[in-house]
Amino acid sequence: MIHQFVTFKVDGRLLGVEIVRVREVNRVLSSTPVQHARPYVMGLVNLRGQIVTLFDLGLRLGLGPRRLTASTHNVVLKQEDVGLVVDEIGEVVEVNQDDLEGPPANLGGLARQFVAEVAKLKDELLVILAVDKLLTLE
């Protein structure tokens, strides 16, 4: 069985989420900050009349905060109106079921609970994020 993942980079790491969970990828990033919100909530953007909450994926994963650059993208999820702000958008990667593994012991600073699986690509390790965990309010 082949899985397809939308891949992107945060702090140089290759991350991915299942393509079926992504509504769209865009550059709608001029957000309105929300005071007193959780630190990883960057703010709200207007996506064609719908209000989307932007997550700083770095902060969410326990890494550093994002800096908006020309390559920054917003990966909007299907399930809820949440957009993940990533440094760079990658390709859609197809991975065979057999090539998926459980999260390794060392994730190098990445909060473990958000990692569903990893896939070894030719020259890189793709970390598959657990979208439901990302959206869970703690």
Binding site: S30, S31, T32, P33, V34, Q35, H36, A37, R38, V41, G43, L44, V45, N46, R48, G49, Q50, I51, V52, T53, F55, E80, D81, V82, L137
Partner: protein, 1087 residues
């Protein structure tokens, strides 16, 4: 069968039933007033609603619901047929039934565990009461004419003729004879329609009547209490055989209960399948009813009898098409309703086992739809195969099988085209089929909504025109509204971009215009989608008022005006509780008991008026009563006694503000707490809820005359008028209903109006203290301000609001204050930016001021709920999209007050203290103005005084230096001469002792400062409020005597003295003309 019933179906049922139930209530209340003359249209509407609930619930297997609605139907049938009049007791029973149905529907899964016995028995009671009551017999007799559909107990119209089929006798076991009941087909049809069961009774008069001490008449009454006796030969003395027979249409469907109710052996009772009787003599049923037989003036419940249609249809379980005969009307109705046709068969074995298996199977059939053809009853008796054709809403084979509890391969769905073809082939029906379709079609349509004005009786024959509706999820509508809003934004951007191009290309302009128009219209219509008439909520109040007034022993008439005013669905839903509370208040506390009202000269029935109307883009809802009103003073006194406000504050409150105190938590002025109200939580909750809806509550009342409570609500929660404000470069919206006023404090007034109470900054607003919150502080934003010269945003590091008033603090903190910048910059228009903008906000009964950097003005905004991840940010109540497409947060005024930990109590206390001080100061001022007096004298023991304010200066004069010039004493002073005025010349005072040196000259402000009043010594300056007592005698220069803590001083008038001095010395050291002119005025004042 419930295992097969899916969730969606149940949801539909719940939604449907809710709608039906809400439509029933106003109709029932309308019926109550009609007594015997019920409007058939209204009864039918109620009947249809109850009937649909019954049908659907029995299909879904909710027995409780179907039983209860079934019993309600029975009572309604009696209304419909004019057999019972609509008394309050009967309507009560029905209303109680509606309530119970509602309870059952709202928690549908728990419904089997809820007992309906109480409601059922009161309904039965209502049924039996009426049928025995002689008053009710008279009513319908006059109304329906001689051929009533059901026979009155004493005169059965039907007759029992001959010996009949073996079917009944066989089951009876030989003892009972067989009988054929002859009666009008209408009766049977109606009984069947009403869901009544047919019960045949065999009676042995000796044993069952005399033996049990009852007469035939008694027994007929008993029969009627269980439903209606259709036919009876009890009254016929010459009847053959030992048995007397009755045919009873009853709501009882259990043999045991029937036997117990009638006090007969179970063996004497047989439930007859309605179809069995019909099948025996089809002509009697299906032949067009004779005009005489049809009750005049009554709509026929079913448009049947337009002939029959013979056809053949493929049938499951057999190779050959099965020939059958169908009622044309039924078939047409089924086709018109898009029902599905199910052909099926059963054999006796399927029905074996339980003795009521046949009845329960037939009931199952009926609950699933309409039987078009059925010979199952016969089959059960014959032991053969029974076939049936059912028109049903069920579409799925599996579900149909489950619903009918049939083994597989017994059912087949027949195409409706088959029946359409058969209809088309057959000769046209004798009557127009439209009449036959009407009732069925109307039944399918949603029950007409409140307020259901009773149609004119003439409309009786006309079918109710169904309004086509479609049920759509609210989220879909919200999404459409979103998109429509977005389309408007897109249109605006496009129009801007194309404006230039359209000049070059004129063909663009009409396209743009069209798009513009369509977009606007689209958005308007979209907004309409969420709107519903207030009537949905107000519709329940006639009932509430009716019950409350009975409960309270009062009389009240409710008038509802403007039920068609529309409001957003979400607001509407949350309006019900607050309104109920207000109505309860009105009835419980407002309206007086009838006797008291009469003694006051008011009509005995209190008037309660609910009026809704549009005003200023808001919906106004006024609830007005003509009761005893609310005494604002009492409310205030109570609030004071409870310590909710301070005494000084009370004095400052206006009448309206005092009345508004009633919304403070814990305040109730009711002398006693009743079931209905008076616990002092209500109005607080009402006001809070209304505020939550973005509305506002206002109370007006006049003791003895009545009370009006006004609610002002936004049309929709989705679009609200708002105030757009800013801090730094961020933009926020505040719901306009939260905003009381805007205050701009110019920086030069800041020190007077901004102060601190403890740690809390406050503002003085018309003698009230207003706690202040700076928006940027509440949101934890770095305070910033725009540099007036460069336009860039800079950090503002002043710590306190009050620092704005002085420059010192700002400078000390090291940041340039706006004042400095203003002074530095050449641009002086930056000044306004330096003003403090305060938005005065209402939070319940409290107010506070929100300091914002910018006021951008009013704007209508579309409210969007907060996303889940920021729900816990209490400072925001929602988000919106501004005209430029950016998201702006909507401030939650209550949340900000909480976040800023505003201590309203503390502020109130400070305010009270301040008001007290002010009051005492004012009280003192009321005694007399405070003034400073210069005290002086010539000899000790004699004290003279001049208001310090009238004294320009004092000069020390050496007596040796006094010269005489033209009759006056002068000293040289400042290059000119100073004339000296000796008081003893004008007043009865001791002269300045000649030996005194130095002496003093007091130079008054009046005049040209060239005259000094001589005195020997200056004593003191005293501040006093003491009143001036008049000084007797012809001395205009003496104003009067002032009591200075025991010492008396003669208060002089400098003006008058100078005037007299000028008269004595007309030349040459001229008196200032201005002083001369002023003098008379002053003199007159003194006089």
């Amino acid at each position: 069968m419930s295992a097969f019933v899916n969730e969606a179906l149940i949801k539909d049922f719940v939604a449907d039933s809710r709608e039906h139930l809400s439509s029933i209530e106003p109709d029932l209340l309308a019926l109550e007033g009609q007594g015997d003359q019920v409007d058939p249209e209204v009864v039918n509407r109620v009947f249809r609603a109850v009937h649909s609930i019954k049908g659907f619930s029995s299909f879904l297997g909710f027995k409780n619901l179907s039983d209860l609605s079934h019993t309600m139907e029975n009572l309604l049938t009696c209304f419909r047929e004019g057999r019972l009049s609509t008394t309050p007791e009967r309507i009560d029973a029905l209303l109680a039934g509606v309530d119970k149905l509602r309870v059952l529907v709202e928690d549908i899964q728990a419904s089997p565990d809820v007992s309906c016995e109480e409601e059922m028995s009161s309904l039965r009671q209502a049924l039996s009461d009426g049928q025995a009551g002689p008053a009710d017999q008279a009513g319908p007799a006059g109304q329906t004419g001689p051929a009533g559909p059901t026979a009155p107990p004493t005169a059965p119209t039907g007759a029992i003729v001959g010996q009949g089929t073996a079917r009944l006798a066989a089951e009876g076991g030989g003892e009972l004879d067989a009988v054929v009941f002859a009666l009008e087909p209408n009766c049977l049809e109606q009984a069947r329609q009403a869901g009544l069961s047919l019960l045949a009774l065999w009676l042995d008069p000796a044993r069952d009547l005399q033996g049990k001490g009852r007469t035939a008449e008694d027994f007929l009454k008993t029969l009627d209490s269980c439903g209606g006796c259709l036919v009876s030969d009890l009254g016929q003395p010459q009847a053959e055989g030992p048995w007397r027979h009755c045919l009873l249409a009853t709501f009882i469907d259990d043999l045991e209960i029937a036997a117990a109710s009638l006090d007969l052996d179970e063996g004497r009772l047989r439930f007859l399948p309605a179809e069995a009787a019909l099948a025996g003599e089809p002509e009697a049923v299906d032949a067009p009813a004779a005009p005489a037989a049809a009750p005049a003036g009554k709509p026929r419940p079913q448009g049947r009898g337009q002939g029959r249609l013979a056809m053949a249809a493929p049938w499951p379980g057999q190779a050959q098409p099965f020939p059958l005969e169908l009622g044309r009307g039924d078939l047409e109705a089924a086709l018109a309703s898009n029902l599905f046709f199910w052909a099926g068969w059963v054999e006796a074995a399927d029905l074996g086992g339980r003795k009521d298996a046949l009845a329960s199977f037939l009931a199952n059939l009926d609950s699933c739809g309409r039987r078009l053809y059925c010979d199952v009853e016969g089959a059960a008796a014959r032991g053969g195969v029974g076939r049936f054709l059912l028109a049903s809403v069920i579409e799925e084979q599996e579900m149909a099988e489950a619903a009918l509890e049939l083994p597989p391969q017994r059912l087949a769905r027949l195409e409706s085209s088959l029946f359409e073809a058969a209809l088309a082939l057959a000769a046209p029906a004798p009557d127009s089929p439209a009449a036959a379709l009407a009732p069925t079609v109307a039944e399918q349509a949603p029950a007409s909504a409140f307020p259901a004005p009773a149609p004119a009786p003439a409309a009786e024959a006309k079918p109710v025109q169904p309004v086509e509706t479609i049920r759509v999820g609210v989220d879909l509508i919200d999404q459409l509204i979103n998109l429509a809003g977005e389309l408007v934004l897109g249109r605006n951007q496009l129009v801007r971009l194309l404006r230039d191009s359209s000049r070059r290309d004129p063909s663009l302009s009409p396209v743009m215009q069209k798009m513009d128009q369509v977009t606007s219209e689209l958005q308007e219509n979209m907004m309409q989608l969420r709107m519903q008439p207030l009537g949905y909520v107000l519709g329940k109040f006639p009932r509430v008022v009716r019950e409350l007034s009975r409960q309270l022993g009062k009389r009240a008439e409710l008038t509802i005006l403007g039920a068609d005013v529309e409001l957003d669905k979400s607001i509407l839903e949350q309006l019900s509780d607050p309104l109920t509370h207000l109505v309860r208040n009105s009835l419980d506390h407002g309206l007086e008991p009838p006797e008291e009202r009469q003694s006051l000269g008011k009509p005995p029935a209190g008037q309660v008026i609910m009026r809704a109307f549009h005003e200023e883009g808001l919906v106004n809802l006024a609830l007005q009563d003509d009761g005893r009103g609310i005494d604002a003073e009492k409310v205030a006194a109570k609030a004071l006694a409870l310590g909710l406000i301070g005494p000084e504050e009370v004095r400052r409150l206006s009448q309206a503000e005092k009345l508004a105190l009633i919304t403070l938590p814990g305040l109730s002025t009711a002398q006693k707490v009743t079931d209905v109200s008076g616990r002092g939580v209500g109005m607080d909750v009402v006001a809070t809820n209304i505020q939550k809806l973005g509305g506002h509550l206002q109370i007006e009342s006049q003791p003895g005359v009545g009370t009006t409570v006004r609610l002002r609500l936004p049309l929709t929660m989705a679009i609200i008028p708002s105030l757009v404000v800013g801090t730094g470069d961020l933009v926020f919206a505040i719901a306009q209903t939260d905003v009381q006023e805007l205050v701009s404090i110019q920086s030069r007034h800041a020190s007077e109006r901004l102060e601190m109470v403890g740690e809390a900054p406050v503002m003085r607003l018309r003698d009230r203290l207003l706690p202040l919150v700076r928006l940027s502080d509440a949101l934890g934003l770095e305070r910033r301000f725009r540099h007036p010269a460069t336009g860039e945003l800079l950090a503002d590091r002043r710590k306190r609001i009050a620092d704005r008033r002085g420059r010192g603090a700002g400078q000390a903190a090291g940041a340039p204050t706006p004042q400095e910048i203003r002074r530095a910059g050449s641009e002086r228009r930056g000044r306004r930016a330096d003003d403090t903008n305060v938005v005065v906000l209402r939070v319940g009964a409290n107010r506070y001021g929100l300091i914002v950097d910018q006021l951008y003005g009013a704007e209508e905004i579309v409210v969007k709920p907060l996303p889940r991840h920021i729900k816990d940010c209490h400072c925001f109540s929602g988000a919106t999209i501004m005209g430029d497409g950016r998201v702006a947060m909507i401030l939650d005024t209550g949340g900000i007050a909480e976040h800023a930990r505003l201590r309203f109590g503390e502020i109130r206390a400070a305010e009270d203290l301040y008001l007290q001080e002010k009051a005492s100061r004012e009280a003192a001022e009321a005694q007399g103005p405070e003034r400073s007096l210069l005290l002086f004298g010539n000899v000790s023991g004699e004290l003279l005084a001049l208001p310090l304010a009238e004294v320009a200066r004092l000069e020390v004069v050496d007596p040796q230096a006094i010269q005489r010039v033209a009759g006056r004493e002068c000293v040289e002073y400042g290059g000119g001469g100073l004339s000296l005025l000796r008081l003893e010349r004008y007043l009865p005072v001791a002269p300045c002792p000649p030996q005194a040196a130095p002496i003093y000259a007091i130079i008054p402000k009046t005049g040209d400062h060239q005259v000094g009043i001589v005195c020997a010594g200056i004593e003191d300056v005293a501040v006093t409020r003491a009143e001036v007592q008049p000084f007797p005698g012809p001395y205009p220069a003496a104003r009067g005597v002032v009591d200075l803590k025991g010492r008396l001083a003669l208060l002089l008038s400098a003006q008058s003295l100078l005037e007299s001095f000028a008269r004595d010395h007309p030349t040459p050291a001229g008196i200032n003309p201005a002083a001369a002119e002023a003098a008379p005025a002053d003199a007159s004042e003194e006089a």
